[in-house]
């Protein structure tokens, strides 16, 4: 590829570079060059597939005319952003999005970390492996399939919950799809169920990397298992936990579309608790689909998310530089 050749040339070139400064620098160059070679493939691919397309951000500020193409279309300032703010219930949408995401972030760390720790401590390794594999299964089911399964549970007449659990107890059947108050719990439960397995893998891998001599030494010193967990395990994986936290905060305005749109089966009465920014945009653009408007929505989310990450990263840096994102 063009770039590698250039860099190879570089490598040759710098071997001949006059050493203007102290000796270590030639070695320093060589090290850094090797590093640069290492990042080269990723850099090139990222540049091509992520940075070059970024010119598309201008679409958010244009009134697109296909005859003129993206570059030729006229600018229209912030017109495309207006629809995001003119919805009377926009506060509810934002509340839903951020509210759910905050809960997801907390649970998305507490639950997988706990599971990973438990799994690493269970005595029977075979059982542990089995549990891990099984925990991963929900990740494979698409939200559409999950929506059918949820319906099988919550349908008014034939649903398992009403028929098999409530009826024998003499409780009247509940119109689940008509009662928004239950759905925050249902959604949070489903989200955790589906994603816990995936995140647990990350933490499990991190725990595996901890030096076991530390545990040995601690137990010899009389530390209980509990103390070991809190003083060794958790601090050792704290970096990865914090990184995952920061990344999640960056995504705080996004939502898992399948969960919020498909699972509630588009029931209108649930909208006040299931409409999030992404579903709102989708609905708004259904009739008037306009790539500029969806581009505007995406841009706004990106900017806010970016800002939040920067702030969080700065805060983390203040406590411990090594744990920050960059």
């Amino acid at each position: 590829m063009l770039e590698l050749r250039t860099k190879k040339h570089l490598m040759d070139g710098s071997a001949k570079t006059k050493v203007k400064k102290k000796k270590p620098y030639s070695k320093y160059f060589r090290e850094n060059l090797e590093y640069i070679l290492m990042v080269a493939p990723g850099f090139i691919l990222t540049f091509i597939f992520s940075y070059i397309p970024m010119f598309g951000i201008i679409v958010a500020f244009k009134n697109i005319d296909y005859k003129k193409g993206i570059f030729g279309s006229p600018w229209n300032g912030f017109e495309n952003f207006k629809f995001l703010f003119q919805f009377p219930d926009v506060k509810i949408i934002v509340r839903n999005t951020i509210g759910y995401n905050l809960v997801f972030i907390v649970l998305g760390i507490v639950v997988p970390v706990t599971f990973a720790i438990i799994l690493s401590q269970i005595r029977n390794k075979l059982a542990s492996k089995f549990y891990q594999t099984v925990m991963f299964l929900p990740y494979f089911l698409s939200w559409i399939i999950v929506s059918y399964i949820v319906y099988a549970f919550l349908a008014y007449d034939l649903g398992l919950v009403n028929k098999v659990i409530l009826a024998p107890l003499g409780i009247d059947p509940v119109d689940w799809y008509g009662k928004p108050e239950y759905w925050p719990f249902i959604i949070i439960l489903l989200h955790t169920w589906k994603t816990a397995g995936y995140s647990t893998v990350v933490y499990l891998a991190a725990i595996t990397g901890i030096d076991h001599e530390l545990y040995e030494a601690a137990s010899i010193d009389g530390a209980t298992k509990r103390q070991q967990t809190f003083c060794i395990t958790i601090p050792s994986i704290s970096t990865i936990i914090i990184i995952m936290l920061i990344l999640a905060i960056g995504k705080i305005l996004s939502a898992d579309f399948g969960l919020f749109f498909n699972v509630p089966l588009e029931q209108g009465r649930l909208l006040p608790v299931t409409n999030v920014i992404d579903t709102f945009v989708f609905r708004a653009l259904r009739i008037n689909g306009d790539i500029a408007m969806s581009s505007a929505a995406g841009l706004l989310k990106s900017v806010i998310g970016f800002f939040l990450v920067m702030v969080t990263n700065k805060i983390v840096k203040r406590y411990d530089e090594s744990k920050a994102l960059y």
Binding site: F49, I240, M244
Partner: protein, 306 residues
């Protein structure tokens, strides 16, 4: 010197705690396994009995009609599986290699530009130019559309994976190892391949698993970038069938209103959807156990002392 799976007896958790843990996970297992079994069960159930009896894990009336419907084009499906397997394997290898290299470089404090490259990658997680420019780059600039590379290259190096891998490298690889290797005159590459990678197997396995899954599940990239049927991977093929079912069933849809009996007649609806799900995920479930052995049994840190 201690392997991770033989914790010496006196440092184990108490039996009571162990039992509690098992109890928790048995419940978790039921919650996770039951829906999957349900899906499998429905896929083998006769369509009409679904309407009468509802869903159940053990079909009231067994039927293979859903699979027959979905699998009727066996040649196409075989090809789709071939495509998927090729893309997944090649993609995973290339991706893990590329990601690990990038992540390792930016995890080294000696690398002067690490901040730049970290930010460079991270920025793309939040900002994106959108679908159309990406499409233009792939088709106009690179001309990879309708080639197998269209399925492999675009998602190759994901920022998420890079950052996770970097964190793994930074936390699990002690500087002393790298230092000692450098003093011994090893180049960075050698250090990386011979010493760092073996230690980081859990992290590499994690990324490997995620990448494998993401390639396997990807229907979007072939949808957008290929139109030749022989480049369709299994997810795209199944997605098409699913969409057809949905289109024809949605009675508010103009399409369904206009379509005549012929098009609608042959659909076993619910069962087909579940069969599609089973076919889509079936093979890849075995990927997890494959990677799993690297989580529980990572190679030891004994190498440091060695």
């Amino acid at each position: 010197m201690k392997k991770a799976n033989t914790i010496s007896k006196f440092n184990q958790i108490s039996s009571f705690t162990n039992a509690v843990y098992h109890f928790i996970f048995i419940i978790v297992t039921i919650c996770c396994l039951y829906p999957v079994l349900l899906v499998i069960g429905i896929s083998f159930t006769e369509e009409d009995s679904l309407k009468t009896f509802g869903y159940s894990v053990i079909p009231k009336v067994i039927s293979f009609e859903s699979y027959a419907y979905v699998l009727r084009n066996s040649a196409t499906i075989l090809n789709a599986y071939k495509v998927t397997i090729f893309v997944t394997i090649v993609g995973t290898i290339l991706s893990v290699a590329g990601t690990a290299l990038y992540a390792y470089a930016i995890s080294r404090k000696e690398f002067r530009y690490r901040k730049f490259f970290t930010f460079f990658k991270f920025f793309t997680m939040l900002f994106s130019g959108g679908l159309v420019p990406w499409y233009l780059v792939c088709t106009r600039l690179l001309r990879i559309n309708d080639t197998i590379w269209a399925l492999i290259l675009p998602p190759l190096i994901s920022a998420w994976n890079v950052i996770i891998m970097k964190t793994f490298f930074a936390t699990t690889v002690p500087d002393s190892i790298v230092e000692s290797a450098r003093i011994d005159g090893a180049s960075e590459f050698t250090t990386f391949i011979r010493i760092v990678c073996p230690i980081s197997l859990p992290g590499l396995a994690t990324i490997g698993l995620f990448v494998t899954l993401s390639y396997w599940n990807d229907y979007w990239t072939p949808l957008m970038l290929t139109s030749k049927p022989n480049l369709a991977n299994i997810q795209l093929y199944l997605y098409n069938i699913l969409k057809n079912i949905q289109m024809l069933q949605d009675t508010t849809n103009v399409i369904s209103q206009q379509a005549s009996g012929e098009a609608i007649k042959r659909l076993p609806q619910e069962g087909a959807r579940m069969a599609i799900c089973v076919l889509a995920i079936g093979p890849i479930i075995f990927a997890y156990p494959f990677f799993q052995k690297y989580f529980i049994q990572g190679l030891t840190i004994g190498a440091v002392k060695g």
